[in-house]
């Protein structure tokens, strides 16, 4: 019994770390030599360790419980705040509120103005940083005899002829704020153009090539402009200049009214990207029903087009009479022939700004 008690005592002291160095040494020696004692000792040791650890863990759980029940005692303490701190804090909060109010009011006003911008992406193309187009222009200077621009364009869009003698139409937002406008025809030649008229609300602008002898083509305009709205579901196609080359796309009319119920617009399902602004939208019969103006930020095939009636409205009160063709000659042609005939009358519009 005394030997058993001795083992407990040694094990207890071993766990507590209170054995003297000599006692610890003799213990280790005995553990190595006496296998039976070693087994026995470890059994005792394990039990004591388990009991001790179990005790500690239970105490820790009790501690956790007491922390849980005493909810945030620190925040209930009374705090004294020095007057200066208090003053600055109040002033800080007041200033913060003032700034937030100012900014939110400003934002609300701006938001109303720019409501379109949130979902409505105008499809003019910003070119300022595109070196490629600059070198293209330089190449064109070398190639063509026309007075081509010497600097890179800031914005590009697409235009379509209203008459063979140089009147063409595009979106107003393409030419807005321009210093000078050049059109580049299907052959890649540059011609300076002047803004004749525009309507900011419906987003159309009329321009004319400066050169009096200019002609889009040897033949007259092969298409006409739809006088009323086409029906939804009608298949349509476009020719635009998203890059330096003319691009064909097709789709259909999704809705008779455009962005935010705008009755001067169509809602189309057709792919579009920047540079497409002003691109003609042509129906199966070869009539231009409108011009691409913008697309939805969230879905690039959701495209908005200005209706052709906006073009009629723009030209009807002008001092110069522009006579639009009554009929389309494209009616009975297949699509590739229609496109081929149209190409000569579409152009890229390059806009230069400071």
């Amino acid at each position: 019994m005394t030997q058993e008690n001795n083992i407990w005592e040694v094990a207890e002291k071993y766990v507590a770390g209170t054995l003297s160095t000599t006692a610890l040494n003799s213990l280790h020696q005995r553990l190595q030599q006496d296998a039976a004692y070693s087994t026995l000792f470890h059994e005792h040791l394990n039990l004591i360790q388990s009991l001790e650890n179990n005790k500690k863990q239970k105490q820790f759980r009790t501690l956790l419980q007491s922390i849980k029940t005493v909810q945030t005692p620190t925040s209930k303490k009374i705090r004294t705040i020095p007057l200066s701190t208090h003053y600055w804090r109040t002033a800080g909060i007041a200033a913060g509120i003032a700034i937030i109010t100012t900014l939110s009011t400003f934002w609300m006003i701006r938001h109303n103005e720019n409501q379109r911008a949130s979902q409505y992406t105008m499809l003019r193309k910003e070119l300022e940083n595109i070196k490629r187009s600059q070198s293209a222009i330089i190449n064109n200077i070398n190639e063509s005899k026309t007075n081509a621009p010497t600097i890179a364009a800031s914005v590009s869009g697409t235009g379509v002829a209203l008459s063979n003698n140089g009147y063409f139409i595009t979106n107003y937002h393409v030419v807005e704020g321009s210093d000078s406008v050049y059109m580049q025809n299907a052959a890649g030649e540059y011609f300076k153009a002047n803004l004749i008229a525009f309507d900011k609300n419906s987003d159309v602008a009329l321009l004319k090539v400066d050169d009096k002898k200019f002609k889009f083509s040897k033949t007259d305009l092969p298409y006409n402009f739809a006088s009323g709205k086409n029906n939804i579901g009608a298949t349509v196609f476009t020719l635009g200049f998203p890059d330096n080359e003319v691009v064909y796309n097709e789709g259909y009319i999704s809705a008779k009214n455009g962005f935010d119920g705008d009755s001067m617009q169509y809602l189309l399902n057709i792919p579009s990207k920047s540079g497409h602004s002003g691109a003609p939208v042509i129906n199966k019969a070869g009539s231009i029903i409108g011009l691409i103006a913008a697309n939805n930020t969230e879905a690039t095939t959701t495209t908005y087009a200005v209706s052709s009636s906006a073009i009629y409205n723009l030209i009807k009160d002008l001092p110069v009479q522009i006579k639009l063709p009554k009929n389309s000659q494209l009616k009975n042609l297949d699509r590739s022939q229609q496109v081929e005939k149209l190409q000569a009358f579409t152009c890229s519009v390059k806009v230069f700004k400071h």
């Binding site: 407990w8 388990s50 009991l51 179990n54 005790k55 105490q59 820790f60 759980r61 956790l64 922390i67």
Partner: protein
């Protein structure tokens, strides 16, 4: 006020010692966000508190090892353990999480297995203590659960001195050892 904030390692060392301040600091820092996560993932407040407490215990047990170094932030460890425990509980109840995140079902598996084994071991020990019979049950409980000193136990149980109480305690330990290892 000018005292530098303790590092995470210092916090863990203090936690291992059972320091209330360190425990409270860790508890308050992570309690809200973890409880929020569990409640968001289909637990009620009671479930959430249980899981969080268990994770704190696991951290405490881990911190007991002398060579223990956490390879990540305390918060990251606690969160991972809580997620794992919660997934386990859901699985046990045959429910699955809508936003299945397999990764956390395996995080710190070893620590959790070790914890479960330890809990089972402690349970068996507690059960053995219940079966040991008086006066041993009360005496060992007084020493190993209520943290009474041998001096106090001697006077409480009517022993003439602490040494006599100690001898009685060793007798009781012998019984416990027999119950525990031979059953």
């Amino acid at each position: 006020m000018n005292q530098a904030l303790p590092t995470e390692q210092q916090l863990l060392e203090a936690l291992a010692q059972g320091s209330r301040k360190a425990t409270e600091s860790i508890y308050r820092q992570h309690h809200k966000i973890i409880i929020g996560w569990i409640v968001q993932n289909g637990g009620d407040a009671v479930d959430a508190e249980d899981i969080f407490q268990e994770a704190m215990v696991i951290l405490y047990e881990k911190a007991q090892d002398d060579g223990f170094r956490l390879s990540c932030k305390i918060g990251t460890y606690l969160f991972a353990i809580c997620k794992h425990l919660w997934y386990k509980k859901l699985k046990k109840n045959q429910r699955t999480l809508l936003s299945g995140d397999e990764h956390y079902e395996k995080a710190y598996e070893d620590d959790i297995v070790a914890h479960e084994e330890r809990e089972l071991h402690y349970d068996q020990l507690d059960q053995a203590l219940e079966k040991i019979g008086e006066p041993c049950r009360s005496l060992l409980k007084a020493y190993y659960q209520q943290d009474r000193s041998m001096q106090e136990i001697a006077s409480d149980f009517g022993y003439t001195n602490a040494d006599n109480a100690k001898t009685q305690k060793y007798k009781c330990l012998n019984r416990l050892r027999k119950l525990f290892y031979e059953s």
